[in-house]
């Protein structure tokens, strides 16, 4: 595999050199930059417009989420995880709740499982929509952003109706759900599915066969499946490189094994494949939602969990397929009401490692495209 070690641009800086000996042009992109999706800082070492190497400087959004967990009870920490990947808060919650449930050896009742899957998949669509809009905006197509935000709004409305919050939902509780699905939930979701299906075609109409889009994305930011595995890259990025790895299928959690869906994979591992993979994933999520919303069983929504949670001493690692990749929670319990240690394996953070490898010998404009295609959320990278 290609050597992923970064030639640190900082070390090679030589201020005497000029643009002509452009090997030495160091450009600081961010943390305040329109295309770094928040506060990512990238230091680029350029030869003219060609990227020789880059280094990511992160931590501008560090809030110490993992440390906070050590001073909170299991229940109290639940809302914090929403603030990591704030565009896919529901998935974060699902991962945390399931991890603690594993620790407590309880399982959420079937009705709760169904509603969880519906909400999580809705969130996946919302996350992908946001990714699509901003990614297209980075590449210069400004219109898809507004289309995706218009449609994402419908998802947020469902969230709002369900739990009162739009972004940081805190939708799930350890052991199930706090809120019963509201009156007309199923109808809303069904309406949404039929509403958004043509809209996804609309996005594709604007982009999929657009010549400029093809030129900007095909062959850009290529990463092989082997490199992905070596770097721990997961999610759509890994699948676009041809590795069929989706935790929903591989290590089924919740009740994903009840549903029929496909895991799309790409072949070239370039930005275009990642785009296509995510577009198909949105459709597959709709498929899951359709199946789930038709079969929500009656029953309780909360399992029997103690009011004061004192999981037995031990440790657990639980991972789920978040929209951006494998989101893992490693929780160590010392038998008290507070976790001894919570370690989050955030997909964005791990995927960001691949940026340097993917951008080598590409142009500055491609860096923007690759940052977009990695679909990072800085809240999750920095935690």
């Amino acid at each position: 595999m290609t050597d992923p070690r970064t030639l640190s641009p900082l070390e090679l800086e030589n201020p005497d050199k000029t643009y002509l000996d452009a090997n030495e042009l160091i450009i600081n992109m961010g943390p305040q930059h329109p295309a770094t999706h928040g506060v990512l800082r990238v230091i680029l070492r350029l030869d003219g417009e060609k990227v020789l190497g880059l280094e990511c400087v992160i931590g501008y959004l560090h809030r110490g989420v993992e440390k906070i967990a050590e001073n909170r009870t299991y229940t109290m920490f639940n809302p914090y995880v929403d603030r990591m990947d704030y565009v896919a808060a529901v998935s974060n919650g699902l991962g945390y709740c399931e991890a603690v449930e594993k620790l407590l050896s309880v399982e959420a009742p079937p009705r709760a499982q169904y509603i969880r899957v519906i909400l999580t998949e809705l969130n996946r669509i919302a996350s992908h929509q946001l990714w699509l809009g901003t990614h297209a905006l980075d590449i210069g197509a400004i219109t898809p952003l507004f289309y995706t935000f218009r449609d994402r709004e419908e998802i947020l409305k469902i969230f709002e109706k369900y739990c009162g919050a739009r972004l940081t939902t805190h939708a799930f509780r350890i052991g199930g759900l706090q809120y019963e699905a509201y009156e007309g939930f199923e109808k809303d979701v069904k309406n949404f599915v039929s509403f958004v299906k043509p809209k996804i075609d609309e996005y594709e109409e604007l982009l999929t066969t657009n010549r400029i889009w093809l030129e900007r994305t095909k062959g850009v930011g290529v990463i092989s499946g082997k490199d992905c595995i070596a770097l721990g890259v997961t999610g759509p990025v890994l699948r676009a490189s041809g590795v069929k790895w989706d935790i929903r299928k591989a290590l089924p959690y919740a009740n994903y094994k009840n549903f029929d869906f496909e895991v799309p994979i790409g072949t070239n591992g370039d930005t275009y494949d990642r785009y296509i993979v995510r577009m198909i994933e949105m459709r597959q999520s709709l498929r899951i939602i359709e199946q789930a919303v038709g079969g929500i069983p009656e029953g309780p929504i909360m399992a029997k969990v103690p009011k004061v949670m004192k999981p037995p001493v031990g440790e657990v690692y639980h991972s789920i397929e978040a929209p951006k990749g494998e989101l893992g929670y490693f929780i160590v319990s010392d038998g008290s009401t507070q976790p001894y240690r919570v370690r989050v394996r955030p997909p964005s953070f791990v995927n960001l490692q691949a940026l340097d490898l993917m951008c080598r010998n590409q142009l500055v404009a491609d860096v923007i495209a690759v940052i977009g295609t990695l679909d990072i959320v800085l809240g999750e990278v920095d935690r």
């Binding site: 450009i27 590449i139 210069g140 219109t143 507004f146 289309y147 400029i212 030129e215 900007r216 404009a365």
Partner: protein, 420 residues
């Protein structure tokens, strides 16, 4: 009063541009008219771009300042004028100060030879189109110096990108223009012309717009120009010099307030300028549709109605919008304003329907209508296309447009040879 009207009429009856006639008074009037007209056009374009783009993107655009945001451009202009004028401490102050003026001067000077009608140009130069291409290419100097003077990486890259881009696309543009100049020489006397008015007259004499000449050669040439002109004006999808997501704002990253607004002004007037070149060269300039096929007094009368009807239609739209304004005391002033605007539009429309007036303005109207179509295209591109990457941009310029342009040139020459 009578004397003045007589004087104006005697002027309108003449068949020369004021510059050619050496008439200082009318030349000055025309310069002022063009300047005011351009400024109004840029302001209108600003509003229209935001509104049209907004409606393409399922949103409303400016709605707060004035009815339907009509006063938004004025508010923006005021804000820009009142903003603090920042000059980076490490910048080269003189050059930083001069650069926007170079761009604006280049963008405005071009209009000296633009023919809005057979006599409605400031002057008619023997080298008209050469002058236009030359002066519009000067704006690259302003952009390059702006990027350099800012003394910062992003503007420098933006400036280098833009100079490379503009110089490259000038070549393709020039080739497309040359093929048109070849076409102008296909008349009995066998001499072509570079004069803008002469080019339109040649289309009139040959009975076809050059876009349809030697089909599809004229069309391909036009297409090359239409692509190159978007690149020349640094607009989407070729807006790399100011690619927002890559270079924050490209060469004018460090500019703010008044100086920034000069760049803005120059960009839009350059768009209008290159569009008027395209209209003059390929779309028959001021000629109304089918000047030869649909001749006669009745057709003349019919086409002379268009300017008035357009304004009446716009006025009707405004009245309709005014009637749909919320019936709330808070919106009363806005509704009244919109109704007043509608009344002005209707009044202009009515005046334009008056035959002596409509005969005089219809040249200008057709020219402006064609240019407006191009302006719409610019907005449409921006709403639709992603941005090219730099190497792809160069590839398109040198490997696609340039060879095609050469081929079109040679084929046009061959076709012209056989036609003669």
């Amino acid at each position: 009063m009578h004397v003045i009207i007589d004087y104006i009429q005697s002027y309108l009856g003449s068949d020369q541009t004021p510059g050619a006639a050496g008439n200082w008074f009318w030349a000055t009037v025309y310069v002022l008219l063009v300047f005011v007209g351009l400024s109004v056009a840029v302001i209108a374009m600003n509003w229209l771009e935001r509104k049209i783009l907004a409606h393409m993107q399922v949103r409303l655009g400016p709605m707060r300042v004035g009815p339907h945001g009509l006063l938004q451009p004025i508010a923006d202009a005021l804000k820009l004028l009142l903003k603090e004028d920042l000059i980076p401490s490490e910048a080269d102050k003189t050059v930083f100060w001069i650069a926007p003026f170079i761009v604006v001067l280049a963008a405005f000077t071009v209009f000296v030879v633009v023919p809005f009608g057979p006599t409605h140009a400031i002057t008619d130069m023997n080298i008209g189109i050469l002058f236009m291409l030359g002066v519009s290419s000067l704006s690259v100097l302003g952009i390059v110096t702006a990027g350099w003077a800012s003394n910062s990486h992003y503007p420098l890259i933006g400036a280098l990108r833009s100079s490379a881009q503009m110089v490259s696309y000038e070549v393709a543009m020039g080739l497309a223009v040359v093929s048109v100049i070849l076409m102008t020489s296909l008349n009995p006397t066998g001499t072509g012309t570079l004069s803008m008015i002469g080019i339109v007259r040649a289309q009139q004499a040959q009975g076809t717009w050059f876009i349809f000449k030697f089909f599809p050669l004229g069309l391909i040439g036009f297409f090359i120009f239409a692509v190159a002109m978007v690149a020349e004006t640094n607009r989407a999808p070729f807006d790399l010099p100011e690619a927002e997501s890559e270079l924050t704002a490209g060469f004018h990253t460090e500019y703010s307030g008044f100086r920034w607004s000069l760049f803005f002004l120059a960009e839009y007037s350059a768009m209008i300028a290159v569009s008027s070149i395209a209209v003059t060269l390929w779309l028959g300039g001021w000629l109304r549709p089918f000047p030869n096929a649909l001749q006669g007094a009745r057709w003349d009368f019919f086409f002379a109605l268009f300017p008035g009807i357009t304004f009446l239609f716009l006025g009707a739209l405004a009245i309709f919008s005014a009637s749909r304004m919320p019936k709330h005391p808070y919106f009363r002033i806005q509704t009244l304003g919109l109704a007043g605007f509608a009344a002005v539009l209707v009044l202009i429309g009515a005046v334009l329907l008056y035959p002596p007036v409509s005969r005089v303005v219809q040249d200008v109207f057709w020219f402006s209508a064609k240019v407006a179509a191009f302006m719409y295209l610019y907005i449409w591109y921006r709403g639709t296309f992603p941005r090219y990457r730099f190497d792809q941009l160069m590839k398109v310029g040198w490997k696609v447009l340039l060879p095609t342009g050469l081929a079109v040139l040679i084929l046009t020459a061959t076709a012209g040879f056989f036609v003669r």
